[in-house]
């Protein structure tokens, strides 16, 4: 079966400024694609290009197997939810939801039937006669979703739909969107700058920076095997520790030496013989540094570390140390006995680390 969305060699320029460079993405029916990246990385522009709201400079774009490169938004069989919800302020909720059908000339009985169906689904039946101005943020969000759902499109597009909600509501709506996706089996493209949203919702993540795709992959691929330093740093909270280190071949494997100020360097041995240059950047997730015996891993290497800061966060306690001239965070058990200023023995899980080249930032293993 043809991919539901297929973007090939897409370029987008504003005048002489290249906003998007050589974008290639394809998703299958039922995929949940999340475009994630910092502000100004071009993710919203890419979404607008998919919607047809922005013309593309070169490349090809097809939706549901049909070439849509030069097709107007209304004929692309898409529905879109906007960051500001973009509800029509002078129309009631019911009119907002049925406006698209009215424009397309759907008969009144079908309009009502679909309206009731969507209203029931989203539990907004009591709101149908209100104006958007009389709704709370969460309710507006639901209405905006309703307007998209009623269209029953091939592809749903979401442009940072949760960023105007407060933290608690955001988590609730996130779960609801995920549930909706599973129930409908619909294909969705979702733009966010929130990497947690990206991880929780996506079946496929595109990480972007400066108009260039940095990595495409499943959430676990992106998280466990980041393609470069940018992805490693951007995805995950707290961020992955990126520690400058030296590598050399030893008897038992590759020895990784991390310099420390005022004490002997830490030497960790990676049991796998890896082909690494001398200068590397070692990437370790905070949860891959633990107290010995807490998280069993065959490839754990222990070392004594001087603890600088202890930050209890409820379920976990974060411990910050200095290594290789960088702050390194470890995610320890909540009842850890680590104290600031004291030495703590920690186990580094070398089976899960990443190595990056310092000059290019590219992944080495």
């Amino acid at each position: 079966m043809a991919p539901i969305l297929d973007i090939q060699n897409l370029y987008k320029n504003y005048g002489s400024v290249e906003i998007l460079k050589d974008i290639n993405v394809a998703i299958e029916q039922g995929d949940f694609l999340v475009l994630v990246g910092p502000s100004g990385c071009g993710k919203s522009t890419l979404l607008n290009c998919i919607a047809g709201l922005e013309p593309i400079t070169s490349g090809a774009l097809s939706i549901g197997g049909r070439d849509m490169t030069n097709v107007s938004p209304k004929d692309r069989d898409i529905a879109m939810v906007f960051q500001s919800y973009a509800l029509y302020p002078t129309m009631t909720v019911a009119k907002n939801i049925t406006f698209g059908m009215k424009v397309r000339g759907v008969d009144a009985a079908t309009q009502q039937e679909k309206l009731q169906q969507v209203a029931r689904q989203l539990q907004i039946e009591p709101l149908l006669n209100r104006r958007p101005g009389q709704l709370s943020g969460g309710q507006r969000q639901r209405v905006a979703m309703g307007r998209a759902l009623v269209r029953d499109p091939k592809l749903f597009l979401f442009d940072e739909p949760l960023s105007n909600l407060d933290a608690k509501l955001r988590v609730e709506m996130r779960t609801e969107i995920k549930e909706l996706h599973q129930r409908l089996g619909a294909s969705m493209v979702y733009v966010t700058h929130d990497q947690i949203e990206a991880m929780t919702l996506a079946t496929k993540i595109v990480v972007m920076k400066g108009g260039v795709i940095q990595q495409i992959g499943s959430p676990s691929e992106i998280y466990n095997r980041p393609a470069n330093l940018f992805v490693a740093d951007f995805m995950g909270n707290p961020a992955m520790n990126l520690i400058p280190a030296r590598a050399r071949q030893g008897g038992a494997g590759t020895e990784i030496e991390i310099a420390r100020k005022g004490s002997a360097p830490i030497v960790l041995t990676d049991a796998q013989h890896r082909n690494l240059p001398e200068e590397v950047i070692l990437g370790v997730r905070p949860e891959d540094i633990a107290e010995p015996g807490q998280r069993p891993g065959g490839s754990a290497q222990e070392a004594d570390c001087l603890v600088d800061i202890v930050e209890p966060a409820g379920a976990d306690t974060y411990v910050v140390m200095q290594m290789g001239g960088k702050q390194v965070t470890a995610r320890l058990h909540a009842e850890t006995r680590a104290r600031p200023g004291q030495v703590q023995r920690l186990a580094f899980d070398l089976g899960k680390v990443s190595y990056f080249a310092p000059e290019t930032g590219q992944r080495l293993n």
Binding site: A51, P73, K74, M80, L87, Y88, T90, G100, V103
Partner: protein, 304 residues
């Protein structure tokens, strides 16, 4: 704090509080007095006009300018409306009043509608050179009336509209377009572009989006534009006197003719009544729609 310090401390704030309240009341009264004085000053001309128009010529000659009429008579109003002489014709203001209505109403409606469309295009359908075109239209607001008189007369002649009411409507529409576009453009740039995008995805086209989404949002700015345009067009004298002929002159020209072309005794009461008749429609528009005027001018400045 020590015990010694507390009594003095307690007294001084209450003392200053009392004097502070007195000061505030005095200031409030001073403010009101000043405002009332200003209001009286501004209302005085209107008062003189109204009272004079209700007096007989005899009373005007013998009495005081600011005195109330001893005997109220509407004779001057009747004369002004239906039999005062503008040059050789003596039909009063009535035919010219209708001329002005026939000029102002279509010109206001057309220029407002076109301004709304222009503003919508410039603000929401960004195209190459949109800013340039808007700047040029803005520039049109600052061209003095006198500059366009001759070219406009030539153009009206070519179009066969010289001296006609449609010709005057045309002139006022063209001249008002800069202002109405400016009003609507500034109003529509405050509307998030996502609204138009959502409607595009919903399948609506250029006019559908304008008609169903933007126009219903525009009531405050429509009121502002209508008041502005109506006042401008109704009160216009220069275009009216330049591009009209006998029979198509607007009320401002007629008023001038009544006041300036009488011979013999000056009928001040008729002049005053005629002036009030000429000013009444704009006054009415302000009273009816003034509330929306202020609201429309400040709309967008505060996030609703």
């Amino acid at each position: 704090m020590t015990d010694l310090a507390t009594p003095t401390l307690r007294r001084s704030p209450s003392g200053s509080r009392a004097s502070g309240r007195l000061g505030r009341i005095a200031l409030r009264w001073l403010l009101y007095t000043l405002l009332v004085l200003f209001a009286l000053y501004y209302l005085l001309p209107l008062f003189v006009m109204v009272t004079t128009s209700l007096k007989s010529l005899e009373e005007i000659r013998t009495g005081n300018l600011v005195a109330l009429p001893r005997e109220v008579t509407l004779a001057a109003w009747q004369t002004a409306w239906s039999s005062a002489c503008t040059g050789i014709q003596c039909d009063g203001m009535r035919p010219y009043f209708w001329n002005s209505v026939l000029i102002a109403v279509p010109a206001v409606l057309i220029s407002t509608l076109l301004g709304a469309l222009n503003g919508y295009v410039v603000a929401q359908w960004r195209f190459r050179g949109a800013n340039m075109i808007f700047a040029l239209m803005l520039f049109g607001c600052f061209i003095p009336f006198q500059v366009v008189l001759l070219p406009m007369a030539r153009l009206l002649g070519i179009m066969g509209l010289a001296g006609t009411i449609p010709g005057l409507v045309f002139v006022h529409v063209i001249y008002g377009l800069g202002f109405t576009t400016l009003f609507f453009r500034n109003y529509y740039v405050t509307i998030p572009s996502e609204l138009a995008k959502a409607a595009k995805v919903d399948g609506a086209g250029f006019f559908r989006i304008f008609w169903s989404i933007f126009l219903p949002l525009s009531l405050p700015i429509i009121v502002v534009t209508v008041i502005w345009q109506f006042t401008q067009i109704w009160n216009d004298f220069l275009f009216g006197v330049s591009f009209s002929q006998a029979g198509t002159q607007p009320i401002t020209v007629a008023l001038n003719n009544i006041v300036n072309s009488t011979t013999g005794v000056k009928e001040y009461n008729v002049d005053m009544a005629a002036a009030i008749i000429a000013a009444l429609p704009t006054l009415l528009v302000y009273i009816v729609a003034g509330k929306y005027f202020i609201r429309g001018l400040t709309a967008g400045s505060v996030k609703g």
